[in-house]
Symmetry: C2
Subunit: 144 residues, 2 copies
């Protein structure tokens, strides 16, 4: 597991390698994502980035996230509601999802599935597990 600083250095290295320019917006967007552990929506990322760069545009956030996803630095996750969410944790991990409020948490599973390399003609390369349930808050609001 790398820390934020190492991840940012890696980001800069990767951008230079590929020939992407390192703009303040790009850095800010990636930084926001590194700091958030709640799989924010594009809108939420945008609001956060605006605190540092008030003139940033939502379109830039969309474009940047797409770019970051292409080079493998962030993952697009999509579980709930109508908007895409992003995650800077690209290591092997799984998700715990509240069926009521949609809250998503990362989780490590020690159990491993052994997935055949070939399944129904698909050449497989990874998997992820979504575990559904009720988060602590929604359990106590159950009666409401």
């Amino acid at each position: 597991m790398q820390n934020t600083h190492e991840k940012l250095e890696f980001f800069v290295k990767k951008c230079k390698e590929i020939g992407l320019k390192i703009t303040p917006q790009r850095l800010a967007i990636y930084e926001v994502l590194l700091k958030s552990y709640n799989h924010p929506t594009v809108e939420e990322i945008y609001e956060e980035v605006k605190k540092m760069y008030p003139y940033v545009s939502l379109a830039t956030v969309y474009r940047t996230l797409e770019t970051l996803e292409k080079i493998g630095l962030v993952k697009r996750v999509c579980f709930w509601g109508n908007s895409a969410r992003y995650d800077a944790n690209t290591s092997e991990h799984h998700h715990l999802i509240c069926k009521k409020c949609g809250r998503i948490e990362d989780i490590d599973l020690d159990q491993k599935l052994s997935i055949p390399e070939n399944l129904q003609g698909f050449k497989t390369d990874s998997y992820s597990v979504n575990i559904y349930g009720l988060c602590p808050k929604c359990q106590s609001n159950q009666q409401v």
Copy 2:
């Protein structure tokens, strides 16, 4: 595993129980979903239903799918792209997803994960596994 006919009867029973009216549109939408094994988008379901009921409205499809999801007859799945997809297979099963074209197939896994009932404060009740890879078609178009 029930067949289509049994599922339709169950649908009718369930609707009556809850007090939902059985309209031709509802039946048609559920039927379309029962017959499709590719997790169609709302738009795709709409196009299919229109073949039987040319005057059906997209809004009805949206509302009906929401209703069917609430009563547990269909599942909303969301993996790829920007639109919601639906699945009438509500039994325990998992998904095989092509990273390139977004095709989704159901898959049975004989391996089981044993998920603790309590994880990070969440009361868990189910899980699903998404396996990612390349579908046969995208493998052969790889060079393109």
